[in-house]
Assembly symmetry: C2
Homo-oligomer: 380 residues x 2
């Protein structure tokens, strides 16, 4: 069996399930809990690798489906993988792209062995199997890899959910076997996660977690959430699954979320997050602050000469005013998207850093209640 990811638990909160740890990878140590900015096409939109490093990003997330289509494995193989291709020297996690096949690709057809689909770009036909998805991520070279899973839409029938859980387990086993039978292309260790599925059905979630843990995965993710279900269901399932997952492996809640979501999920024992929210919402003019988000297009900021967030150290807040950022958005200047994105990533990184300190100081519950009250959300 493959090794578990080198995870060290540094501190357990006494008043919640929040925990503070570290993951030691060949390209650096990750302090947990952490958030991964999303770089779908081998780039976090508008930001350079140096920007991300300066903001405190520890890991960049990318996507096997998108990278497989563009730039393609041929080029990634020539550059010794994604790290040197995009100039990011820290750890990388790649999602398998199963979710993207179901949300983007055309004429997809799933069978017991894998999924056949047409590219959303040019209609060309492709096939992913559990084995090929491991192989793609070997070429990409991500330190952390996700297996191909079956993630039905949120409104699927119970029978569909059951089949998805069964298929996810079978594919996880095949992924594990192929992973164990192959080597890293570039000499650095890679780790294969498993993804717990089962929608909002507690029994299916228990079954999925139980079956996957028998495979002794390097680490565990919770998939199939943050896809439109009510917030209560998101946290109920997260709490349930987090309790089932082993304490000595990091727990990754895929696709979550808002600052408040992250603060709450950490108190349930989650260690890893990713979401397009800070980058996508930046491009819509939404800036995150400790007092809640603000929309910079709002006319109230027209003459506002204060920075977006007082005391923030990002390139946006240290150099320009809300009025100037609003001007960039109203005139359609791309520099506005860039500076707003820089702020939101900085904000998320600072949030996670503050949250880690609160766990270290064993005052997470109080810190989280304060955070949520200031942010403008109720504490529960």
């Amino acid at each position: 069996m493959a090794d578990p990811i080198p995870f060290t638990l540094l501190h357990k909160s006494s008043d919640s399930r929040a925990r503070r740890g570290r993951i030691d990878l060949s390209r650096g140590t990750i302090q947990t809990p952490f958030f991964m900015p999303v770089g779908t096409h081998a780039a976090v939109k508008t930001q350079t690798a140096a920007d991300l490093r300066r903001a405190g990003a520890q890991v960049v997330l990318s996507n096997a489906y998108h990278l497989y289509l563009r730039p393609g494995l041929d080029l990634l193989g020539r550059t010794d993988g994604l790290h040197s291709f995009m100039g990011w020297d820290g750890p990388i996690l790649t999602d398998s792209g199963g979710y993207q096949i179901f949300s983007l690709a055309k004429l997809r057809k799933m069978d017991a062995d894998g999924v056949t689909f047409q590219s959303h770009l040019d209609g060309s036909q492709h096939r992913f199997t559990p084995e090929s998805v491991v192989q793609i991520q070997r070429v990409i070279g991500a330190e952390m890899m996700m297996p191909l899973d079956d993630c039905p839409p949120g409104d699927a029938a119970p029978e569909t959910w059951r089949e998805a859980v069964e298929r996810t387990t079978r594919w996880a086993r095949r992924s594990r076997d192929h992973f164990a039978a192959t080597d890293s292309h570039y000499g650095h260790p890679q780790y294969l996660f498993c993804i717990v599925q089962g929608g909002t059905d507690p029994d299916l979630r228990r079954r999925s977690a139980g079956e996957l843990l028998e495979l002794d995965p390097a680490a565990c993710a919770i998939g199939g959430l943050a896809v439109g279900e009510p917030k209560a269901a998101l946290f109920d399932v997260t709490a349930l699954v987090a309790e089932l997952l082993p304490e000595d492996r990091p727990r990754y809640l895929m696709g979550v979320g808002t600052p408040a979501d992250i603060v709450r999920a950490v108190s349930l024992g989650i260690d890893m997050f990713d979401c397009v929210l800070p980058t996508r919402n930046a491009r819509n003019g939404q800036l995150f602050t400790p007092l809640g988000p603000l929309n910079i297009r709002n006319a109230r900021y027209r003459h506002d000469l204060e920075p977006v967030q007082d005391g923030c150290g990002c390139d946006c807040c240290t150099t320009i005013s809300r009025a100037y950022l609003r001007h960039l958005f109203t005139t359609g200047e791309v520099l506005g998207l860039r500076l707003a994105t820089a702020h939101n990533i900085w904000y998320y990184m600072q949030l996670l850093a503050a949250l880690r300190r609160a766990i270290e100081q064993d005052r997470y519950s109080a810190w989280a209640a304060d955070f949520l009250a200031t942010y403008g959300e109720p504490a529960t």
Copy 2:
């Protein structure tokens, strides 16, 4: 009369009319010849002020017409002008916007006193006079200001050109008088240029230069070129007018140009340049290099792991390959526009720095011939 701009001639080339000088302004000394990146809407597209400074930009150019419409004088007045609004602490030159009124605004109507036009944004009606344009630039706070002039289209009739020269002189005098009767809003010295017009007619150019020089302007610009006339005419007029302009004032060739254009114009005695070429062409995927421009979208760069320009110190060339930049363009990632723009501005700044050294070493003609041969253009 207003003071001339503090210009010191440091070296005159013995084998051409190229010259090396400096302009001492309150926000810093400008080494001449120099090129100004264009920040039409109070931003050089995709670049921060810190990026520009790091690339070696000495001056940013902006535009009174655009700034008057957005963000408007009210906001610029509140921020103590454009410098602090956009976070650029170096000198600024603003064009009057006369050219933009004629190329962008709707239903414009010129009379002896000024020009009435509808905003290209919302159709609202506005009026510019020589006096109001000076006043707008007082509020903007640019160190170097251009007067309202009359710049007819390149294919205008000879009579139209003659009238334009006459009007440009009358308006230059009114601009000068209003400038002399008013003060800087923010305490730093400002300097008002004149703009020689006259199309490609040598007699009109002589007349325009002669009339304007009687006004003893702070410095002189050559307008109405780089608007579609043949390259030979551009250089003929530039050579003619440059000879007529006083040696003790900087000479500004507006809207020029390609690297080869600049190298040639410097040999005719030009000191100042601006052009959208490095920034606009970057956004179309055209990257400038000493071997001539390359288009990064070209399939030949698909697997090219070399930097755009070997040895270049910009953020693009020091961190990513041609293959990655091409990938950013083919996937529509804004980061590609940003990195390409960073390279082109860096290239222009390095070109001007090399050109200044060649003048200092009194080998400009030989350097220029070498440059043009390597760049792929004939030396004459």
